[in-house]
Subunit: 234 residues, 2 copies
Amino acid sequence: MTSIRAMFFDVFGTLVDWRTGVAREADRALRPLGHNLDWTRFADAWRGEYQPGMEEVRSGRIPFCKLDVLHRRNLERFMPRLGLTDLSETVLHELTVAWHRLDAWPDVTAALKRLQKKFLLAPVSNGNISLMVDLARRNNFPWDAILGAEVAGDYKPKPRVYLAACEAFDLAPAQCMMVAAHSNDLAAAAACGLRTAHVARPEEYGPGTGERAPTVPVDFAGADLGDLAGKLGA
Amino acid sequence: MTSIRAMFFDVFGTLVDWRTGVAREADRALRPLGHNLDWTRFADAWRGEYQPGMEEVRSGRIPFCKLDVLHRRNLERFMPRLGLTDLSETVLHELTVAWHRLDAWPDVTAALKRLQKKFLLAPVSNGNISLMVDLARRNNFPWDAILGAEVAGDYKPKPRVYLAACEAFDLAPAQCMMVAAHSNDLAAAAACGLRTAHVARPEEYGPGTGERAPTVPVDFAGADLGDLAGKLGA
């Protein structure tokens, strides 16, 4: 069993609570303008455009662009359905950077600080570098480097994203472990030869909606990141 | 005057003492094999191949490869001149990663911790990501992200390297400051619109050999990084 040298992390849903954070930031930006929506519905509508937006890049229909750019494009796509029109450029920008202002699940930062003592740590997220940096500053994530989509020039679950992360650290895939709350992310990482660990985030899309357990074979599974750190001896 | 949001750092010579470190590591790897060289001459010979090696990439004669790969190739280029032949693959690898085991100048880590409170910080070095990560772990450099040659796919002083770093942080060049002990690096950054700061490293190539002051116009100049931090109000 090759020893694990690095841990790679999915971020949205796995480390940070995007749904509550986006809803809070949308409320903050739009309520003063007289809009009074169901803000979690707003967040869900935005997240609903996430995979289709990235699929444009993965399929090669459009060249790679940062997730911030896709988030902005996706926002403009669903807004009219919620009756939002004529928002100013300033407000559209303020909404787009809502994704830079998300809070970690309560177990995350302490667990990363334990894991840091044993492993190299990096996000391997579809979020761009500046987005990852802002989330790290806000939540004290102790990253060794920011890896993921922007470094790879493509979006997960494309193999290039996982393999580029291993290569950046000069490690074989078997020396790297992908951590996510989403089985499809872990299945794709495992297909590239990485080790995998699932963390349960049962509240991701609202109470009782997230994956309580992986639906694919994984090397480790934790009730949260602290539980996983314990299982890894950190 | 646009306010500075991020500071970018040259690493070899500016933050770490490559000459003493490479000499120490070469001594450690080669003396047990019966070699007894002037180890600083060994380090200088290796560094002498640095710019010609990168020029192969900058000119487009060879595709981009990591600095670790160039360091290995450069090692094999100058070794015979010092009478070193028939070194094993293990020893060649051990020598190549000498560059991952360099110590910071004594003022650096404390100064970066002060600067971190005011600015985003990243290396914008020609060193690859794993090399930067190893130096950061060894010396407690508090980076927000690892930027530089490997992220840009080219070597300084090509403009792409500085501009890719600004873009990764979603900042205009005028919001970013390049810090280096080498005037040519600062001149290239300034030509891209970045702010610049010089730090003196008079011992870089041996006593009294480094730049005591910039030879080009800069925004700030410090006797060392602590002095520069003070001038920036950090």
